[in-house]
């Protein structure tokens, strides 16, 4: 629907045209774009700087001054004191498990819908797509009471189930677009040769979808890593909290120590920033493809 990739294809052609604005106009455009970039980056640069300072330096020096001696001990302090390392590891494993489940289950559904013949496949697809319109908040109270009844509140399974369910529609939507473009000849030949459906799916189709799997996995990871309201509502023990809620609680206790707060926030956003550094094209693609989720 809205594609970043096709946009890039035409970039070259558009650039070959001749500008009407002249040099001054061109410079003005750059000033606008750089201004927006500064607005987008400035808060993060400021965050990095104050995460390496102590309170005295934060209060007395100009906001953008470089720390004289970068105080990496802020990072050591928050990593070892409190439960930041516990929250971090919880975020990692819950994100990975939920993402893997969503991508695998989503692939199975997409395969069954695009490749297999059965009544009701379009109805089932509709069920998945309609779920995309349902606001998370409207399910929160019953979900809490259901999980409470079956003893899953304050248990990571409640988070994993919720993440899988709410990211499933967008995952299937992105996968569908790719599955429709995949040629069917190889599978058909394999079936003729007596290949089982499982073999066709796991050995032939799934390996061909590597690139779109990566895209869906990345946006799943970003959503899961950043999720807040489910953790905040379902989880009460520190041993199961993830970084979003953990950071929130931790900062609540250290409201006056700017360096510690900065270091905590940096730790919580660093994995995403690193991922962005290495996989930005795929992330841009995933965000554009998943734009309907909003």
């Amino acid at each position: 629907m809205i594609s970043g990739a096709t946009g890039q294809l035409q970039e070259g052609r558009a650039r070959s045209g001749n500008g009407a604005g002249g040099k001054i106009g061109y410079a003005l455009l750059y000033i606008v774009l750089i201004g927006v970039a500064v607005f987008q980056l400035f808060p993060l640069v400021w965050l990095l700087l104050f995460s390496l300072k102590n309170n005295q330096e934060v209060f007395d020096l100009p906001p953008l001054s470089l720390p004289m001696n970068p105080r990496w001990e802020n990072y050591e302090k928050v990593w070892s004191a409190g439960n930041i390392s516990v929250y971090f590891l919880n975020s990692v494993w819950i994100t990975v498990v939920a993402t893997a489940l969503t991508v695998i289950l989503g692939s199975l559904v997409t395969f069954a819908i695009t490749r297999m013949k059965w009544k009701g496949s379009s109805f089932v697809l509709g069920l998945f797509m309609v779920a995309m319109m349902i606001p998370v908040h409207s399910t929160l109270i019953p979900l809490f009471s259901i999980f409470n009844k079956v003893g899953l509140t304050d248990h990571p399974i409640s988070l994993i189930l919720s993440y899988v369910a709410f990211n499933m529609p967008i995952t299937i939507m992105i996968l569908l677009g790719f599955y429709y473009t995949l040629p069917k000849e190889v599978e058909e030949a394999a079936v003729m040769d007596g290949c089982s459906v499982h073999r066709v799916f796991f050995r032939i189709v799934l390996p061909m979808t590597g690139s779109v799997l990566a895209t869906t996995a990345i946006i799943n990871m970003i959503y899961n890593w950043n999720e807040f309201i489910f953790v905040n509502t379902f989880i009460s023990s520190d041993m199961f909290k993830t970084l979003t809620v953990g950071v929130q609680n931790f900062i609540g206790q250290y409201t006056t120590d700017w360096g510690a707060i900065g270091a905590t926030l940096m730790i919580s956003i660093l994995p995403i920033l690193l991922m962005f550094l290495f996989l930005s094209d795929r992330i841009v693609e995933g965000i554009a493809a998943g734009s309907v989720k909003g």
């Binding site: 606008v32 774009l33 987008q40």
Partner: protein, 293 residues
């Protein structure tokens, strides 16, 4: 071939796990929300069926309408800010070197958690040490306001980080749409003597109108259910001045333990979002009518 590919057992095996999860986590809770809304319930004890009383109470609940008004204001701000994003995307799509780098930089805040963004902007707005007030004091403005503690300012103050968070997302969508316009159309207009402004407003805007409609509804629906950032930054305060529908629902259920009434609010939120989403579908239904060549 067909026989193998319509094996019911295998289809069930492939579809049911995901289907059961969204049934249990999305559809059954949604039905329960509607049902809980008809009851008086503290979340733990027995439920008492009270019919439509909660919905009736909702209609005359001043606090609820305040929160709905705040959500609507955010929706209007968000929809209005789309014009800025569109303008930036137009600049970005106009033969700019490094456009790809720019749009990636713009996107970074969108990838961060609302909690981290909220905590960062709490520091930015810090009354004495935040960069906003430090800057204002350095240019001679004494006693700058405590942005988030001022009922008349708090919604505007909250909107800046929202703008910051989503700018890259909408610019990315508009940029992609603008780049999809065939260069030949723009070239033809130039040959006919059209100015840059005419090209922008008469050719490019109409061609991406469908995308613009979609983003308007995305921004509106997104704003109606906005929660995380406000929850962390102000928790609806000061004195309810930044309470929005989702936070009001949360406070009613999980702070005041009025799960029945909270569910009624949740159901109302669902209905509003579905109505707006229905509008999305109406607007995007005519998508195919646009012909590029």
């Amino acid at each position: 071939m067909d026989k193998v590919m319509s094996n019911k057992k295998i289809i069930a095996l492939y579809v049911l796990p995901a289907l059961l999860v969204i049934m249990a986590v999305v559809y059954i809770p949604i039905m329960l929300t509607a049902y809980y809304g008809l009851n008086e319930w503290n979340g733990i004890g027995a439920m008492t069926f009270i019919g439509l009383d909660n919905y009736q109470a909702l209609l005359s609940d001043g606090k609820f309408w305040d929160s709905a008004w705040h959500s609507l204001l955010l929706a209007v701000f968000s929809a209005a800010s789309l014009m800025i994003y569109l303008a930036v995307a137009m600049v970005l799509a106009s033969k700019i070197k490094g456009a790809n780098l720019f749009r990636k930089i713009y996107l970074i805040p969108m990838l961060l958690s609302s909690v981290a963004i909220a905590q960062l902007w709490l520091r930015i707005y810090h009354p004495t040490n935040g960069i906003v007030n430090s800057f204002l004091e350095s240019i001679g403005i004494t006693n700058p306001p405590a942005w988030l503690a001022e009922p008349s300012l708090v919604l505007f103050a909250l909107f800046i980080p929202i703008l910051w968070q989503y700018a890259g997302f909408y610019i990315l969508i508009y940029y992609a749409a603008l780049k999809n316009i065939p260069a030949s159309l723009v070239e033809a207009a130039k040959i006919d003597g059209a100015t840059s402004f005419q090209i922008a407003f008469r050719i490019k805007l109409p061609l991406i109108m469908e995308v613009i409609k979609v983003t308007i509804v995305l921004a509106v629906v997104g704003s109606l259910k906005y929660f995380d950032l406000i929850f962390v930054m102000t928790d609806g305060g000061p004195n309810g001045a930044s309470e929005v529908m989702a936070s009001y629902m949360y406070h009613t259920a999980f702070r005041a333990y009025d799960f029945g009434y909270g569910s009624a609010i949740g159901f109302f939120l669902l209905v509003i979002c579905l109505i707006v989403t229905w509008v999305i579908r109406k607007l995007t239904a005519s998508k195919e009518t646009i012909q590029y060549s």
